[in-house]
């Protein structure tokens, strides 16, 4: 079972630290139609709200360096673990629509006033949909490499595409058949940090080790990431990235989009040139050179400064 929200799963985790990382000031949970979501806050509870959403296969504590910088700028920073991630409940069902609904439940539990939305990767896309759905709830939108533009298998012949789709589908269904009994692979704290490093090759081992301390639990046979083992990286479905792009011009609030110039496994490879035709009038795109998908982790000070200037 997941540990209590925000509490280290084991005293050993308390030994894991990282320069600049700040434990959230407050922990609470929100009920989303029967599902418990773990919510974290940094900063003055009376300050205006900045809603901060993590990416897929991440969790809110990955903001332990970035969020305190925003809070220090005068914001009540509120984040949450998506369903199945971090200390939130493992759900029976997962979908994009459900993630957007969960985000609204967290916002509703926090304030009825318009708030700043900041999201990374999938979290950026989820908050974009929430901002489009509820424009009266967002004053600004910041998307950190959260604007999809890439389609899978763009350069393969049709018959090859069929074979690739067949492998995707059979692999997914086989995974679903095993999902009832799946458990995450245990390991030492360093093992888990190294495994995550394969998907986050630009992030330091010290940072990834810190993430294990706040995002994994200690079982008798070793550490395990808390994320629901029934979740699987990749996948398929009817979603088209261009649907996301085509909606951007409808945004009613200023948009700040941050992109990293270096492609990596979890990145979305979106470029300023791709975004240009779709940008709403009050928008700004910043490209970070020599930076990958996790811009706010690689460049926390620079990103926080940009965000604070943008929402001032």
């Amino acid at each position: 079972m997941p540990s209590s929200p925000g509490q280290p799963a084991d005293p050993e985790a308390a030994d894991v630290s990282f320069p600049g990382a700040g434990t959230p000031d407050r922990f609470r949970s929100v009920d989303s139609f029967g599902l418990r979501l773990a919510v974290y806050e940094w900063g003055d509870p009376a300050a205006p709200v900045l809603l901060l959403a993590h990416g897929g296969f991440d969790f809110a504590r990955t903001f332990d360096v970035f969020a305190p910088l925003l809070a220090a700028g005068g914001w009540r920073v509120v984040s949450w673990d998506h369903r199945g991630h971090g200390d939130s409940a493992h759900a029976a069902l997962y979908s994009w629509e459900a993630d957007v609904r969960d985000a609204l439940r967290v916002l509703d539990s926090t304030t009825r006033e318009p708030a700043v939305f900041v999201g990374h990767s999938k979290g950026g896309a989820v908050l974009t949909q929430l901002a489009l759905s509820c424009p009266h709830r967002a004053t600004h939108l910041v998307s950190i490499d959260g604007m999809p533009s890439r389609r899978r298998h763009p350069d393969v012949a049709d018959h090859e595409r069929t074979r690739l789709l067949a492998e995707d589908l059979a692999g997914w269904l086989d995974h679903r058949r095993r999902a009832a009994t799946l458990v995450r692979k245990p390991g030492t704290l360093d093992d888990l940090a190294r495994r995550r490093g394969r998907m986050n090759p630009r992030l330091s081992h010290a940072w990834l080790r810190y993430l294990v301390g706040v995002g994994a639990r200690r079982d008798p046979d070793g550490w395990r990431w808390k994320i629901d083992p029934s979740l699987r990286f990749g996948g398929f479905g009817p979603f088209r990235p261009e649907w996301h792009l085509e909606r951007l011009p409808s945004l009613a609030m200023p948009l700040l989009g941050l992109l990293g110039a270096v492609q990596e496994p979890m990145g979305w490879d979106t470029t300023p040139g791709v975004l240009k035709p779709y940008l709403p009038p009050e928008s700004r795109i910043e490209l970070f050179g020599d930076t990958g998908h996790f811009i706010h982790i690689e460049r926390p000070d620079a990103v926080a400064k940009l965000v604070l200037e943008f929402v001032a």
Partner: protein, 220 residues
Amino acid sequence: MTIELTHARMRLVLHALRQEGSGGALLLLHGLGERAPESLPAGLAGWRGPVYALDFTGHGRSTVPQGGGYTAELLMGDADAALAHLGQATVLGRGLGAYVALLLAGARPDRVRGAILCDGPGLAGGGPRPGSPHVALPPAGVVPPDPFALLELARDVRPPDYATSFVRQANQLSRLAQPICVCAVERPDWLRAVAEEPGVERARLPEALVLYGGELLTDC
């Protein structure tokens, strides 16, 4: 008789409507908001083999989960759990179940011995592309079916070229010459595109059953 199946955290109920028979199994997938029939529908009497019907997640006697999150692909996983129990089957879907039958025929072309797509609730889904963005909150309702299922599976997007990619996969990888048969009269965009694909049969239900192993009965 019922059989309990597991799909991830869901307990699914598979109803055996007729266990005996000389041919292959027929698996029935209900429409949105429906549940498995309690007895063999009259129109299916000509099927020679056993007949089973599945309650999808959130429907009938299967698990009603907390917090929603339904997708047609999730229900394909439900149907695949039934297929794992049956080995092989001809799959007959109504409405939403027809769309799921198509997905399964493309995803398990070696196990689905023909997919028959019929009219029924939830056939259109949410159309070929997303509508205006909004946050879907569930209405109060009688459970089952799960109000989240009714809400989310009435608006899931079904692009025609996504649907036809499953047809092409079934055509390329199935041992059947015509692995998909469209019986539905209503043809939302995805189904119109499917029906126009090479190799897809269009027929009335009695003929569709014959195509995959039934007898033609004159009274249906």
